[in-house]
Structure formats: structure tokens, C-alpha cells
């Protein structure tokens, strides 16, 4: 696709307006066109709201201004506790701030033309309303509260999915959602709704983290202890996000307690954790720090002949400051490290890796590290009716395959970036504008095993701007049109990405069913190179797409959500479709030195998610079913000579057709029993006819006596077979001990209770089979000081 019509001005006409991308831009312009000239005659009120006890900014507080003449306007505070109400006619108002679980705040205001009024409000927690907090929170963030691909997760949601250890983890929740495919209980990869793991944008406080999942698949870099909220877009994300084809996992980390020091510590066979938080300057500056380190290598070095040779951990810290009533500033740092041998059974046979020379070591050792640093400054600019935010970040990830002193290959990506975001609120409408840019330095040394690509050191720059809006058409319909202009500077290509999200609540805002939809275009210039010989394909090197066109995706999502109040059940169903083009897919080769030469391909994803959630006083239950089809189509010369047709359609290895997740939790006083059952139908793989040796028989010059020839794998058509189904039952029993300032939680249980041989990886070349964890018991203790 050329870009001349993107940078130029398209001809105007009826057909032009029927193009979806221009319709969305028109919607943005028209939605905000009327009344903008009235700024000079109006006033603005900017409110910052925080918890009166711990001084944490409160998100989601309803702020309403009423006057006798024009009725009421209002909005909710953002993640930093801010809300700005603009285009207010001069006059007297009553301001009311309400948040369930807190006492309401009410004050009178007298606004004059051209004024901007800043208010800082501390809301007092109200004990009587705590239960209501949970109820309201669940309605917006429960497992069925999915809105056009978006799930907003709070720690309470994450904690409900039982897992190894005593603290919740974001990845455990994600793995329980339909449409999520993981590489198993190890490997550190997650595929969302047909996208590849390298097509997810994972952010913590806006900082990208390239390989955020730990080598043991139970854990990510995001324990529930440090999460304030996580916005998980399985697709259809808005214009403020970009640069990835599939999904966004945007984690907002908690700010530390600004009133007093508290913390927690836990110990369990897989992971031990320490968290501490408190004020640096009381009521103004706080910190939170968390350290998690694996113990599995020491506590459980091997189990049932599988060697659990894994070492991983993460270190997180955040400093949050409120320099004034209209500013906030934060610094976030995250560091992770992972190392392990994914083919544990092989190593057991050969002994400890440290006692054998490097040349004889199992080369399925893999390691990766992440470092993410960022700072964010939010302020209310004097004289402007907007909230502003400036952020800068640095992110680095490095990964290696093979032993530490002699890696077979290694790769790294280092990126630095920044953004400026402006939010303008007028009544219920919101307009968000932003600029963004980043520069990446990508390096890899692939040890000559990747055809055509061996070493690389490239720089890459991206930048652009976006605009998106919340437009309310009546009380029940909300449209969120947006557009992102994304320039891939090194490719000298600019892409316009229109986005549209919509919510309709025909039964009212608080009750009844909800219909939602999303549509958008997405581009991603970097691709992940993997070698299929690697165990689980974990090693990933990033590179610019070698193809002329930027990989592109189009998402369509339609969802429906319905609370069945009488039965106490919430149900949600979502259908989705992703059309992927200009993908760079691995070229097919018969050489066991597997090629990662990339060839153009395209993909189609169809899927349906269904969820049901029961939430009663003592029982919580969740059932999710996912039906999906991921199909790639590639045209390669090898296909033509091999199968007679240059085009082949195939289902890539993350095409999980059927998936079931069931979670149940029964609480009786301080004791709770929980269980989780997961089922995934078999993933595709390519069978072979066997191996042979190949000789180039060009004439009488072939040396049949001495030439060994070239080992060849005789593949069947790509991905025609399916691996065995995967399923596993985990059960947990826990007891909570609550004292005045100390809580203790003891949790014991086991994963894979019926000890099924779930396949993690099958090496076609060595016929080596590596299974996921067998029956693995675990007990953990967590102490929390409030």
C-alpha cells in the first residue's frame, strides 16, 4: 500500500465520507465543532480528589455541578484523581462529589467568565458503605464486565483466580479468560484473541515492557499487590494506544500510602515476596516497593523426575508526589529477571548443568531481563481548561538462548520515548489529544542459525499524534471515535488509524443489558523472530519487518452483557474478528536448521467468548468458554514445489479452538476452598514423514562414497495435526487470621491434582517430549501489616 493518499489531501465527495476512517474523523470534528468558540465566555472547574486517610488519589469519583438555569454537568475522576469540567456558564453552582464507600462532599461555587477554579477535596471513608464499594466495583470490573474487548481489572478480581502461592498475579487472571492462550505453565508467552505474543502492548504506568511474563507461567511482572487497575484490551483498543496489532495490557501501579507505613511478606515454594509502602513526606510524597524472588530452585529442585531449574524475580518501586493541589508526579521502576532450562527432563538425565562443560550442556536454557523506568507529571495548566500530562520512559529487554557464558544467540531491544496528553472535559463529553514518540535500538546475534539474518543493529523511530473522544448521544449511547496518525519514520511511512468504540445500555445506565462494539485499524512495524527449534519458541528477537508493507490489523468486536438479577448471575458474550495483513511469517524449509527467513502472509481470526459469573455471599463461580479459529495464509515458493500450490492455509501453533475455564470459591468464615479447572483443545503442529539425507545429484561429480549429504526433515503440510488436549485441576484451601494490624493468610493446595501429562513441548528433531508440571503441592504464608 502506498502512502500518497495518507499524506496528501483526499478529494472530497460522497464516496469520501462513506469511507469508515473519514466518517470517524468527521464524527470527531462535528462532535466537538459546535460551541468551541464559546471558551472565552465560560469558566472551568478542575477538581482533584483523594482519600482523606491515605492521601491516594481516587479514581472514578462522580463530580457533579448543578445550577438552576442549565441543569447539571458532571464527570468522573481519572487515575490521578483529577476531573476537569469546562464550558460552564458563569453563575452560581453546587458541586457534589460522591463515591461509594466515602462520605459525600458538597460545596457552593460562584463562577465568573474566563475563570479557572482549582479545588482539592479529601473524601472521608465511610465504614457503613464498604460493602457497597465491592458491589459497585464488581459491576464495572467483574469477569463478565467486558466492554468491546476491554476488561478493567482490580486486585479483587485478580485475587479471585486461585494460583500457586499466596498472592494473586495478573497473568493468572488473564489465563482464565476465554481467548487467552499461554505457552503452558512455563515459557512466558501469552497470546490474546488470535494475536501473537509479540503483538501485545504491555505497559506499566505507560512504560512498555517487552517480555513481561515470567518463565514459570503462573507469574507475570505484575502481582496484584502493586496493581491499582489494569485495562486489558483483547482488541479494539482506542486511539491512545498503538504500535501493536493485537492487544493492550495497560497496568496502572498503585501509589504508596501517604499516611503510614504498611507492607506484607509471603513465602511459598515458588515465589517469596516483600512489599513495603509508606510516606516519604506525609500527605505529599509516598513510595511503594515490591521484591519477588523465586524459591523453586532451592525448595523444589525436582519433582517427579522433572527438574525445576528456574530462577526468576521482579523488583518494583514507585514514588508518587503531590507537589501542589493541581499537580502530581510519579516515578516508576520495574526490573525483572528470568532464567531456566525449559527441557527439565533432559537435564535430569544428564546431571546438573553446573557440573558439565558448556559444550555438553542442554541448549534449551533461556534467560531474559527487563528494565522499565518512567516518570509522569500531571498538571492543570493555568489559563487552559484542560488536564495535561507529560511522560517520559526508558525500557530495555535482553534475552538469550543457550548457556550464559556461551549463548547460542542473544538479542536486546532498548527504547526511549515520551508522550504529552491533554484531556478536555465539557460536561459528560471528553476530548483527549496526545503526541507520542519513541526511538528503539534493536540488536541481535543469532548464531548463524537463522537463514539470511544473523546479526543486526538497527535503530527505529516512531511518532505521531492521536485524538479520541467520549461523545454521549442521549443518556444511553456512548461513542468513542478516535484517530491515530502513526509515522514509522525509518520506513518513511505514515498510517492513519481510525478507531471507534461504542456502548449502548438500552435498559439504563446502572441496570440491564449492555451492547458494545469496537472497530479499528492497527499497525506494528516490529516483528518477533523465533526459531521453531527452540523449546516452546521462547527466544524472541525483535526486528523491523523486512517486508515493504507495515503489518496491519483490522478488529471488529461486538459484545453483549446481561445481569440476570433473579439468579444472581452475570453473563457476557463477545464475538470478534481480526483481519491481519502484511504479516511476516516464517518461510517453510526442510532444513532442520530451521529458517526464520520471513515471507509475507495474512491471517484471519474469528472467535466467540462466553462468560458467566455468580457472586453470592459465600460462593463465587466463574465459567468461561472460548471458541476461536486463527488461520494464516502464506504464499511461498517452497509450497509450490512441495505441495503443488504456492499458497497454503494453515492454523498457526496458537490456534486454540476450544477453551474452558471454571473457577469456584466457597468461603466459610475465615476458611475458603477454591478450585480451578482449565481445558484447552489441542494446538496445531506439523507432522513429518521422517528424516532422510539429501544429496545434490547433479551428475557424475557427486561423491556417493564420502559425501554425507544434508539432513532433511520431510514435513507434511504445515500444522495439519493437533497435539493432545490440555487440562488441569488446581485446588486450594486457605485460612485467614485477622488481628488488629496484622493479617495472616495460609494457603495450601496443589496444581494438576490428577497428575495429567500435559504436553509443554515436543521436539520433532529429537523426539524429546517435555511435559508441564505434574501434580505439584504447595503451601504458602502471607503476613500483611496494615
Amino acid at each position: 500500500m502506498n502512502n500518497k493518499h495518507l499524506l496528501g489531501v483526499p478529494s472530497l465527495g460522497i464516496r469520501f465520507f462513506w469511507k469508515p476512517r473519514w466518517m470517524i474523523i468527521a464524527l470527531l470534528v462535528v462532535g466537538w465543532g459546535n460551541g468551541s468558540s464559546a471558551w472565552a465566555q465560560t469558566a472551568t472547574v478542575r477538581v482533584f480528589i483523594r482519600d482523606a486517610e491515605d492521601r491516594k488519589p481516587l479514581q472514578g469519583v462522580n463530580v457533579v455541578l448543578r445550577d438552576a438555569a442549565s441543569g447539571q454537568v458532571g464527570s468522573a475522576t481519572d487515575g490521578d484523581g483529577y476531573v476537569s469540567l469546562s464550558r460552564l456558564a458563569p453563575g452560581g453552582y453546587t458541586l457534589r462529589a460522591t463515591f461509594i464507600g466515602y462520605s459525600s462532599y458538597e460545596a457552593s461555587l460562584d463562577l465568573v467568565a474566563n475563570s479557572i477554579v482549582n479545588l482539592s477535596i479529601d473524601l472521608e471513608p465511610s465504614e457503613a458503605a464498604l460493602d457497597e464499594v465491592l458491589v459497585e466495583s464488581e459491576r464495572e470490573t467483574g469477569a463478565t464486565a467486558i466492554v468491546a474487548g476491554l476488561e478493567v481489572l482490580r486486585p479483587v478480581n485478580i485475587e479471585r483466580v486461585p494460583m500457586v502461592g499466596v498472592s494473586g498475579d495478573l497473568v493468572a487472571y488473564l489465563q482464565a479468560t476465554p481467548g487467552a492462550v499461554s505457552s503452558g505453565d512455563r515459557g512466558g508467552q501469552l497470546f490474546l484473541r488470535g494475536g501473537e505474543s509479540t503483538q501485545n502492548l504491555v505497559l506499566i504506568d505507560g512504560i512498555p515492557v517487552y517480555q513481561p511474563f515470567h518463565i514459570l507461567g503462573f507469574y507475570s511482572a505484575f502481582p496484584s499487590d502493586i496493581i491499582d487497575r489494569a485495562d486489558v484490551y483483547a482488541g479494539g483498543f482506542g486511539a491512545s494506544y498503538g504500535g501493536r496489532l493485537s492487544s493492550v495490557i495497560g497496568v496502572t501501579a498503585r501509589n504508596g500510602n501517604k499516611q503510614r507505613v504498611d507492607g506484607s511478606a509471603s513465602i511459598a515454594p515458588f515465589l517469596s515476596t516483600i512489599r513495603i509502602e509508606g510516606p516519604v513526606i506525609k500527605n505529599r510524597v509516598s513510595f511503594i516497593a515490591s521484591v519477588r524472588e523465586s524459591l523453586v530452585e532451592q525448595v523444589m529442585p525436582s519433582i517427579f523426575e522433572q527438574r525445576l531449574d528456574y530462577r526468576f524475580g521482579d523488583r518494583f518501586a514507585k514514588l508518587h508526589a503531590l507537589p501542589s493541589a493541581s499537580t502530581s508526579w510519579s516515578i516508576t521502576a520495574l526490573q525483572t529477571s528470568d532464567r531456566g532450562n525449559l527441557a527439565g527432563t533432559f537435564k535430569t538425565r544428564r546431571g546438573d548443568v553446573l557440573n558439565v562443560p558448556p559444550s555438553e550442556r542442554d541448549s534449551s536454557e533461556v534467560a531474559w531481563d527487563n528494565l522499565a523506568l518512567g516518570s509522569r507529571f500531571s498538571f492543570l495548566p493555568p489559563g487552559l481548561p484542560v488536564q495535561a500530562e507529560v511522560a517520559g520512559w526508558f525500557s530495555r529487554t535482553s534475552t538469550r538462548f543457550g548457556v550464559e557464558d556461551e549463548p547460542v544467540r542473544d538479542a536486546s531491544v532498548e527504547a526511549i520515548g515520551g508522550e504529552v496528553n491533554l484531556t478536555y472535559v465539557a460536561g459528560r463529553q471528553q476530548l483527549r489529544l496526545g503526541l507520542f514518540g519513541q526511538r528503539s535500538d534493536i540488536q541481535y546475534e543469532l548464531g548463524g542459525l537463522f537463514q539470511e539474518i544473523d546479526t543486526n543493529d538497527e535503530q527505529q523511530a516512531e511518532g505521531g499524534l492521536y485524538a479520541e473522544s467520549d461523545l454521549f448521544l442521549g443518556a444511553l449511547l456512548k461513542l468513542m471515535p478516535g484517530v491515530r496518525v502513526h509515522a514509522f519514520l525509518d520506513k518513511e511511512v505514515t498510517r492513519i488509524e481510525p478507531r471507534l468504540r461504542a456502548e449502548w445500555r438500552p435498559g439504563g445506565v446502572l441496570r440491564g443489558q449492555q451492547v458494545s462494539a469496537a472497530w479499528g485499524l492497527y499497525h506494528q512495524v516490529i516483528v518477533g523472530l523465533t526459531d521453531e527449534r527452540d523449546v516452546g519458541n521462547v527466544f524472541t528477537a525483535w526486528a523491523s519487518t523486512p517486508l515493504d508493507d507495515i503489518p496491519r490489523a483490522m478488529h471488529v468486536i461486538v459484545g453483549w452483557r446481561m445481569p440476570i438479577v433473579e439468579a444472581g448471575v452475570d453473563v457476557a458474550v463477545e464475538g470478534y474478528h481480526k483481519r491481519l495483513s502484511h504479516l511476516a511469517v516464517p518461510a517453510w524449509s526442510v532444513l532442520p536448521a530451521f529458517t526464520t527467513t520471513l515471507e509475507p502472509g495474512r491471517g484471519t481470526v474469528w472467535g466467540l467468548d462466553a462468560r458467566a459469573e455468580v457472586n453470592r455471599e459465600q460462593f463465587y463461580g466463574y465459567l468461561g468458554y472460548g471458541l476461536a479459529s486463527v488461520e494464516y495464509e502464506a504464499e511461498q515458493e517452497a509450497f509450490s514445489v512441495w505441495f503443488g500450490q504456492p499458497q497454503q492455509r494453515y492454523h498457526p501453533p496458537h490456534d486454540l479452538r476450544h477453551q474452558i475455564n471454571a473457577v469456584g470459591r466457597y468461603t466459610l468464615g475465615e476458611v475458603a476452598f477454591s478450585a480451578r479447572w482449565q481445558y484447552g483443545s489441542g494446538l496445531p503442529f506439523t507432522r513429518s514423514l521422517g528424516f532422510d539425507d539429501w544429496l545434490l545429484l547433479s551428475g557424475s561429480d557427486v561423491d556417493l562414497r564420502n559425501d554425507p549429504g544434508q539432513v532433511r526433515v520431510l514435513y507434511d503440510r504445515p500444522y495439519r495435526a493437533r497435539l493432545p488436549a490440555y487440562h488441569r485441576l488446581d485446588v486450594w484451601l486457605e485460612r485467614t487470621f485477622e488481628r488488629e494490624r496484622v493479617n495472616m493468610l495460609v494457603r495450601a493446595g496443589a496444581v494438576n491434582v490428577y497428575n495429567r501429562d500435559n504436553l509443554f513441548y515436543f521436539d520433532l528433531f529429537t523426539l524429546r517430549r517435555v511435559d508441564q508440571l505434574p501434580l505439584t503441592p504447595s503451601i504458602g504464608i502471607k503476613l500483611e501489616i496494615k
Binding site: 539425507d693 539429501w694 557424475s700 562414497r705 564420502n706 493432545p724
Partner: protein
């Protein structure tokens, strides 16, 4: 739920990475009309990547019986296996057989049979003598060349060599000097056409003669011979080029049934002629 779990517990977790495609061996080799011993490599399709690493490797036991039959006269030959070590120290099987003669124009069928009866087979028809069609010498760019058309040659000859027999006038057994032409030539009107560079070649062979026997003022060119090794009609890769990237693909450039690889035949033929007096003079030779 318990029933579901019970059923789920019982399903198989085994993985069969291979499919039975009716292919059993890969075969590489050819019959050579010049040789009295013929060889063919037989590689069983195996279930692991590694080759035979030692003489005690379990893979060393090859279940294969190899034979050929001349489909024109019914003569059959049984081939003998031999475990050989390659230059990379791995091992493989080379089958050999003594042939009194490989007959031009005859079709030979090679079979590799496993003890359970399954079989891989391939056939080759040995190329026959081409028709030699020699054009008169002609001058081109101050050089003399002569064009030879090989009629009935199916594809590019494997190896072409010009042999010049020259010596002092009156020599009884004049020496022969070779100028390799490799796989040169072109297909033209159905025949393989080779331009013999007389001026260039005689300069070369004069130098060779001088290095071997010393300078001679007068030399006689007794005869010229074009020797060719022609491959059978099936020995023709896609696009006419031996491109490993293409030929590596299974089933490409293969005449083997129930397996992979290629089994062909090469026939060696030659044609001798003498130059006329005028051409000899132009080249600086005396006419015998």
C-alpha cells in the same frame, strides 16, 4: 463434573509426530556405462534427526534388499550393502553391484525392498549414442571454431571434453591432450550444440605439448575427438538448473516411487574426426 473429569483424565496424551505416507527409502545413484561397478546410496526414512554415529548405533541395522532388473532382457543383479564412513565421520549405506555392461537404450528398474514387503523403486533408461552432426569450420572474430550438434541428447551433457591428438610429423603413437568443456553448449533446434574453439584449444594444446616434450617447429594434428557423458532423459532438474534451494524440497526432481531421491544413468560416447588441409594450415599444423 466428576464424570467430565474422569473422561478427561482418560484421554490420550501421546503424540505421534509421524505420518505413514507410503515412502520408505531415499535413493541416490546412477548407472554408468563406463564403470563395471555401480553404486547407489540407500537412506531409510528414519524417525530421528541424527545419522548413524558409530558401528554400534542401533540405526546401523538396515532392513533393505536392493536389486536391479534389466527390463529389456530380464537380467537381474543383486546389490551388496556396505557400511561406509563419510567425511564427517558419520555412517551410511552404499550399495554396490558389478555389471558386465550397462546397455544403452535399456531400462533398468531398481528396487529397495524391506523385509515386510514394502518397497521403494525407480527406473532409468540409459541414453543411447547421439547423432554427431559436425559443421564445417568457420572464422569468427579472427578465431576458428567448429560447431558440433549432438542429435537425440535429452538434456545438457554432464561432461564434455575435446581430445587433440598431435605430434611430430610421422609419429606412430602421437600423444593426446584434453581440453575440458564441462557442461558448455546450448539447446538449438532440438539438438545439443557445442562450439569447439579450434584456435583457442590448439594454442592450449601446443603449450601443453611444449611443456611436456619441448618446442617443436612443425606439428601435425592427427585427430580431434569430442567425448561426452550424457545423462538420461529424466535427469533434468526443474528450470534446467541444479539449484539446491529448489531441489532440496521433497519430491522435486525425483523419479523414485515410494520414497525420495533420484536414480539415473550416464552414458559416455565419443566422436573422432580430422580437419581438412586448409583448416590445419590456418591453425599452423601440418596435415597428416
Amino acid at each position: 463434573m466428576l464424570v467430565l473429569l474422569g473422561l478427561a483424565r482418560c484421554d490420550s496424551t501421546a503424540v505421534n509426530p509421524f505420518i505413514d505416507s507410503g515412502n520408505y527409502y531415499s535413493v541416490y545413484g546412477y548407472l554408468d556405462t563406463f564403470a563395471d561397478s555401480q553404486f547407489v546410496r540407500v537412506v531409510p526414512l528414519r524417525g530421528r534427526l541424527e545419522r548413524i554415529q558409530s558401528e554400534t548405533d542401533p540405526l546401523v541395522n538396515l532392513d533393505a534388499f536392493v536389486s536391479t532388473v534389466d527390463l529389456n532382457n530380464g537380467d537381474s543383479v543383486i546389490w551388496t550393502p556396505r557400511l561406509v564412513q563419510f567425511r564427517d565421520s558419520t555412517y551410511g549405506y552404499l550399495f554396490g553391484a558389478r555389471f558386465n555392461r550397462v546397455w544403452p537404450g535399456h531400462t533398468y528398474r531398481l528396487t529397495v525392498r524391506r523385509s515386510d514387503g514394502v518397497m521403494t523403486a525407480a527406473e532409468t533408461t540409459v541414453p543411447t549414442q547421439p547423432g554427431w552432426n559436425l559443421a564445417p569450420p568457420e572464422m569468427q572474430n579472427d578465431s576458428l571454431l567448429q560447431t558440433m550438434r549432438l542429435e537425440g541428447v535429452a538434456n545438457q551433457p554432464d561432461d564434455l571434453v575435446m581430445v587433440y591428438q598431435m605430434g611430430l610429423p610421422g609419429s606412430i603413437r602421437p600423444p593426446r591432450f584434453q581440453v575440458p568443456y564441462g557442461r558448455s553448449g546450448r539447446r538449438e533446434n532440438g539438438a545439443w550444440t557445442v562450439d569447439i574453439q579450434l584456435t583457442r584449444d590448439t594454442d592450449i594444446v601446443r603449450t601443453m605439448y611444449a611443456q611436456q616434450f619441448g618446442q617443436a617447429e612443425r606439428l601435425t594434428l592427427f585427430s580431434l575427438t569430442l567425448v561426452t557423458a550424457t545423462r538420461d532423459a529424466a535427469w533434468d532438474p526443474p528450470g534446467g538448473a541444479f539449484d539446491p534451494a529448489v531441489l532440496l524440497q521433497p519430491g522435486v526432481f525425483s523419479n523414485v516411487e515410494g520414497g525420495f531421491g533420484f536414480f539415473g544413468s550416464i552414458a559416455h560416447y565419443s566422436h573422432e574426426w580430422v580437419l581438412d588441409e586448409a583448416t590445419n594450415e590456418r591453425l599452423g599444423f601440418e596435415t597428416p
